[in-house]
Symmetry: C2
Subunit: 501 residues, 2 copies
């Protein structure tokens, strides 16, 4: 068995096949990772930070090769991939900064209080890494959500070891990225086995069930994610499985906004819905809008251009869904954009329907269609949209377009969207994420498997950490984060108060 | 179908049977809870705090009735139940204080930075409550881990609605507690349906699968917890199930400590292992000790007294496990304490074995035996204990007894214990918890279903919260926690830095 990369523009094989990882090899890599974890988890944060910076630098050093390989294998284009690799290396640097700042360990200290009920001994709590983390790469972000993307970066930062399951859509990119990462880790003195890549579907099935694996991160489809989630939960010792699955990302265009700036909104929509050939988890595929703006939206989509999709299966799935919708009585095709003459190409498409029809066919019309397609649901009364929103499936994002005259209505829309979405955007578009503490990339099922966590942004590190509390230990035996003198100078919660004490 | 309480001291029925809740009633209560959540989650933290304080006061007002009822039904005794009810009301007051302090919402603000890659828009993140929470009461803490215990208190504080599944061991206590809580909530103006209690096994099965239920908390056995955990995960829309299950709570008595203060340690052990007739999740049932201290441990256990256990099933299970161990070649019974002449009584027992035998029968000898029994595993070389610890099942606590001359060895023991335990105790005992930020009551499977969270202590509130991020919203439309001026005056993380800004 092997994994063969393809050039989506030609449909032809690209590069040599990469051999699938055997069960025995998966076991060996997990055991090496577990050994490595014991060392790496004992490193000082500052030392782990230095290694993350080094990995980032070495990836940047090899950017030309990496970007060319990824472009050949994904057809995402040099400009996008250049930005994406930079995002990936900046993400490693962000986590290095987080380690140096140090307060991410959430140190909490409570002093003894023998006279309250129940009496309180000296308690000191700090976060510690879980162990070996399994990371399942995404198809659509060969750098930022794959080999050394946000799951891997946050897990390594936390002090965990990582075994990455490569996505079949870009084995050569994965191999080259993995090579650079492994060399940089070795150069930085990280313990052997800290990071490994495995290939082939069966290897991923084995990985999530391996006794040494203590948590998993996943970005992909609902079907694939659910299968692995079920395996993680049916282990004799279940492990947390943090999956980012499917999302319809509703956008609500309020009446005055639609009237005031139809062209601007239409242009923004067409750009966002076709970005990366629509292969974004945050693709705004579902729009609620007054009928007046449909002409503008359709015009913008007609002028947009599609491109080769990531692989044949995705392209087939997109095209057959578009065909089925085009032949459906429930929706009307109102625009089709251009598409280059390439093998696995997807063209932009815009459909429309009414709020009544949408509401009567909610389940069918809220299935995610991965690709550059949108559905505009026209409404007359915004109140009807607000009433409908809580019935939509869980989603990563919800967007509102409003004019200054509609603040009250925008607020009420946010209240409803907040019930189903992890990030709310005002007069913007959901595609594109930021590297920040305040970033949230999560939402209720099926957007993710656990809405309390995020797969992008600094708080993503909390997926790989667990608290340990020291009760009445001599100060000198405590980890530095918890010692009285606060030798690391970090912000801690002491007797309930956050400060550098 | 109904649920009948019993007096464990006599084995006779106590009080009138409480009718089991039908599926239809469960559905109605969940729907009412969901309606109520929409209101309660919109209340200001300070107003929710006032209601929590009121509930605490009303429970204290009715303490005599509640404690008498619980004592009749659980045989835990008036002194222990008096403390436990006070712990329960102080827990409500602690969460009220946490709400008033306000920083628990983890507000994070990142200012726009258009020139970095990827560009960062204005992002503001805050935690919001999940919805209706299912709480499964524990048998062994009729107040502190039941109707209005730590799961319920933290969920109500978070802004969630709660449906409690009563434990069959104390239906009358549950009904009386529920009555006081409901009346106090009504008196405080909380919305109808915010809190409800259901009875009977089938009602609990229905509850965890109800579409309105968004998360569950559980304290109980591995078998019962696993069954509900599997139901939660096999829903069409899985929900997080935070279960606190079984725990062996290893204690390591280091050589010098055993030599220096055998009587003190033995007395502390016997007190801890028989507390509440051994019916504590943190019962120190497994001790690693030098052979020299076994006589002292046995002497202390002989002088201890058992009592009536919570219910007939638990008593039968305890007795049959003790019988099986007494007849086993693997361990030796070295002490049996006294027991009053009551119906479902459990007497203290101490067994011993060698490290070699223990290691060869690890799975069998690490099964939790819920009751006042301990197993001392004698060792000659502490290094062999340290090597064994990581092979023990996940546990809530790990304890070290050391003398001042053994700090280095104590530290190395802590490093090993930290791999399997959520709380490490030095020269103390694991029974007894504190109400604090730094409290951790969790650990790797099977101690809990998710080691990154806790079921006791302030951070338990994070099980019921999820982040929502506002991107580029006008300041006036943001929740107060996220507005520029910080009108609530809470500590926030702004551009990565924690401060009151």
């Amino acid at each position: 068995m092997s994994v063969q990369g393809y050039n989506p523009r030609t449909g032809k094989p690209y590069g040599e096949p990469v051999e699938a990882t055997s069960d025995t090899e998966v076991d060996q890599l997990c055991e090496a990772a577990a050994r490595s974890f014991r060392v790496w988890s004992g490193w000082l944060d500052a030392d782990r930070a230095t290694v993350l910076d080094l990995v980032a630098d070495r990836l940047d050093d090899e950017s030309v090769l990496l970007i060319d390989t990824a472009d050949a294998e994904t057809a995402l284009g040099i400009p996008r991939l250049t930005t994406e690799l930079k995002r990936t290396t900046n993400q490693l640097r962000l986590f290095a900064d987080v380690l140096r700042e140090g307060s991410y360990v959430e140190a909490m200290l409570d002093s003894p209080s023998p006279d309250i009920i129940p009496p309180r001994p000296d308690l000191r709590r700090v976060l510690r890494p879980l162990g070996v983390v399994a990371v399942y790469s995404a198809s659509n972000f060969p750098f930022a959500l794959s080999t050394v993307g946000s799951d891997t970066a946050s897990a390594l930062a936390a002090g965990c070891a990582v075994v990455v399951k490569a996505h079949s859509a870009h084995p050569n990119t994965t191999r080259e990225t993995g090579r650079v990462v492994s060399a940089a880790l070795a150069e930085g003195g990280a313990p052997d086995g800290l990071f490994a890549v495995i290939y082939g579907t069966q290897s991923g099935v084995r990985l999530v069930q391996h006794p040494h694996v203590k948590a998993a991160g996943f970005t992909g489809s609902i079907g694939g994610g659910r299968a692995l989630y079920d395996l993680a939960n049916s282990r004799p010792d279940p492990i947390p499985f943090y999956g980012e699955l499917g999302s319809v990302n509703p956008t609500v265009i309020l009446p005055d906004a639609a009237a005031d700036r139809p062209e601007e909104i239409a242009k923004g929509f067409a750009q966002s819905v076709t970005m990366g050939v629509g292969q974004f988890c945050t693709n705004p595929g579902l729009v609620f809008a007054p009928p007046s703006i449909v002409v503008a939206l359709a015009g913008a989509v007609k002028q947009a251009t599609g491109g080769a999709m990531l692989n044949e299966r995705m392209c087939d799935s997109y095209r057959s869904t578009v065909d089925a919708m085009s032949n459906s009585d429930l929706v009307e095709l109102v625009a089709t954009g251009a598409a280059p003459d390439e093998a696995w190409v997807g063209a932009p498409n815009l459909f429309r329907t009414s709020l009544d029809v949408f509401e009567s066919n909610l389940e069918k019309l809220t299935e995610e269609n991965f690709g550059p397609a949108g559905l505009v649901v026209t409404y007359d009364d915004p109140a009807a949209v607000l009433a409908l929103i809580p019935r939509l499936p869980g989603t990563l994002t919800g967007t509102v377009h409003a004019s200054d005259s509609e603040h009250e209505l925008a607020s009420r829309t946010a209240v409803e969207l907040q019930k189903i979405a992890g990030r709310l955007i005002y007069n913007g578009w959901p595609t594109g994420i930021a590297l920040a503490w305040a970033m949230q990339h999560g939402g209720p099922w099926p957007a993710t498997t656990n809405t309390s966590h995020t797969s992008i942004g600094v708080p993503g590190i909390y997926r790989w950490l667990a608290p340990v509390t020291y009760q009445t230990w001599p100060d000198a035996l405590l980890p530095p984060e918890l010692q009285d003198a606060n030798p690391l100078g970090i912000t801690r919660r002491r007797d309930g108060v956050l400060d550098k004490h």
